[in-house]
């Protein structure tokens, strides 16, 4: 007669025995600000949700929208899954001109959201290096408003285009990270027909990271429909490129693979608003307890510490 494995053991085994560390589960982390929500931490909570709530989390890749249900919808998902902070942006539309009026409007939305949820949202700004002076002015305005980095930058200018140099140099001075979108790219050999021409590919990140080793770059969403094996291999030797695991495509083994090629100090938890996938594949991954805490929270907080804007 087989011994049945009950539901309680699902995550306990998944998370802890995969790490080889059957550690005593620690109490739920105290959270700062308005995140503390007693209703999330009930005694009779399923084992999986206890594991979910156990980890402090900074979602390094989140978005807000010009829609009636935003940002309340994002906060609702974050509450549901115990995500303490979300690094939000409103990216420029992929085929837009990315004028100063457009990027200021996007950033204004982020600033409004930061003011509405000061203990939940960390804002990052969008820019278009084609408009050099306007972008530099916008950096000052957004940093003064409390933003912590740039992103999600899109396809208006490739990340390794010389037009980006003064922007990157400014962020080096600020000790802040630049999050750049990554692409379907050449997953099927030829550049995907839907991609804008200036989309940044992994090799573009490698090149710019080598040119500016003191800068910090965030390669977007391994689960965002990109060839994540290719990307992780391409970025393996770029120590100043962080890689976020956000996106909707929660393919098994992705984080394990990224861990082998990128390492535990350069991986960042994120959802890109695919919240279940973001948290789910983190808990499914074969990570040690320390690695899981680093990726969920510590790595991004360490980035924030460099500019003095860390969570705690």
């Amino acid at each position: 007669m087989q011994k049945k494995i009950n539901r309680r053991s699902f995550v306990t085994h998944t998370v802890l025995s995969s790490a080889g560390l059957l550690l005593k589960i620690q109490g739920v982390q105290e959270n700062s600000g308005s995140f503390a929500n007693a209703s999330l931490h009930k005694e009779n909570e399923p084992a999986l949700m206890k594991e979910v709530m156990k980890y402090r989390k900074i979602d390094s890749h989140a978005h807000v929208y010009f829609s009636a249900d935003s940002p309340a919808s994002q906060i609702d998902f974050a509450d549901r899954l115990g995500i303490e902070r979300l690094v939000i942006s409103r990216n420029l539309e992929p085929f837009s001109g990315g004028t100063p009026e457009e990027f200021r409007r996007c950033n204004d939305l982020v600033i409004q959201c930061m003011k509405a949820y000061p203990n939940r949202f960390l804002g990052t700004m969008v820019l278009n290096p084609t408009y050099r002076e306007a972008s530099l002015e916008e950096i000052k305005r957004c940093v003064d408003a409390g933003m912590v980095g740039a992103g999600e930058l899109y396809n208006q200018v490739k990340i390794n285009d010389p037009a980006f140099y003064p922007i990157i140099e400014k962020f080096i001075d600020l000790k802040m990270i630049l999050l750049m979108h990554s692409a379907i790219g050449r997953s099927r050999v030829v550049l995907d027909a839907g991609e804008p021409p200036n989309i940044s590919l992994p090799e573009d990140f490698v090149e710019i990271a080598a040119r500016y080793p003191e800068a910090m770059f965030q390669f977007a969403h391994t689960a965002g429909g990109i060839d994540w094996e290719y990307a992780c291999k391409a970025l393996a030797n770029s120590p100043n490129v962080y890689v976020d695991i956000s996106g909707s495509n929660n393919e098994a083994g992705m984080i394990d693979f990224a861990l082998r090629h990128i390492g535990e100090d350069r991986l960042l938890f994120g959802c890109d608003n695919s919240f279940y996938q973001g948290v789910g594949h983190m808990l499914a991954a074969n990570l040690t307890e320390i690695q899981r805490r680093k990726i969920f929270f510590d790595n991004y907080n360490a980035i924030l510490k460099k500019s003095g804007r860390h969570v705690d």
Partner: protein
């Protein structure tokens, strides 16, 4: 108790997967707290003669008595390939397979192909379900040798319209879930079970309100997708969206009832 209604053994030719054998699958289930997995052999998608894949799975399951009742096999049948009627009979009567998974895009036929309709009717007459996955892998990241088409929910409706009294399993729900009123009524009137692995299930609470709590069940689509996300969609439902009784249905009771386990 936890039943995964959407799992696989076998290989995917374009990416290395874990837990590809029955032994590895059972070990993984024990580690992950999954009591029962309903599987088909991925090789059946790629072999021209899908019956070889069904035989592989059957032979593999005979190797270890511990697999019995824990790994439940489904057949992969290609109705436009010679001998499919015999294959269906062997898989169900001879090998005890509990249903049929179809892969029309990979095997290049329309769901309304007369032979497909005949297969669905024969499967219905055996009291077994037909399973349809809206996609196997994300087309964006798929290999240059793979197909590049995906379905949305409405793409499975033509076969339901043709054979409305069959049992259907809808797996890995992706892309649009939008249906017209007529389509919604057609789906609601059918005997279907949808697994929770698909990314389109961003609001499972609302889906339960729309279609009923007996229509959904935990599925992982593993080892292609991770095994936690599909369960997280269930466990993170708030009490007002799904109480403990409903969650128990989703974890295993709906699967038990639907598949007569």
């Amino acid at each position: 108790m936890l039943i995964d209604i959407n799992a696989y053994t076998g290989h995917w030719p374009f990416r290395q997967l874990q837990h590809t054998t029955c032994g590895a699958r059972l070990q993984f289930m024990q580690k992950s707290g999954i009591d029962i997995s309903m599987v088909s052999n991925l090789n059946g998608i790629f072999y021209k003669n899908t019956q070889s894949a069904n035989e592989e799975l059957y032979e593999a399951l005979k190797l270890d008595r511990r697999f019995a009742g824990r790994i439940i096999p489904f057949a992969v049948i290609n109705p436009i390939y010679a001998g499919w009627k015999d294959d269906l009979k062997k898989c169900t009567a001879g090998m005890g397979m509990k249903g049929v998974r179809l892969h029309p895009r990979y095997h290049r036929y329309a769901l309304t192909h007369p032979y497909c309709i005949e297969l669905v009717k024969r499967t219905r007459d055996l009291g077994l379900p037909i399973a349809l996955s809206l996609r196997m892998v994300d087309r964006r990241v798929s290999s240059w040798l793979d197909i590049s088409e995906e379905w949305s929910l409405k793409d499975v409706l033509p076969v339901i319209r043709e054979v409305p009294d069959a049992k259907y399993v809808i797996l890995n729900a992706v892309n649009s879930m939008q249906l017209t009123n007529e389509e919604t009524n057609l789906l609601k009137g059918s005997d279907f079970l949808m697994d929770t692995s698909g990314r389109a299930l961003t609001d499972l609470g609302n889906m339960i309100r729309s279609y009923g709590k007996e229509k959904f069940a935990y599925g992982s689509h593993s080892p292609i997708l991770d095994h936690v996300t599909g369960l997280l969609r269930i466990e993170s439902l708030r009490t007002e969206e799904a109480g403990e009784i409903t969650k128990t249905l989703l974890r295993y009771k709906n699967a038990q009832a639907f598949f007569n386990l």
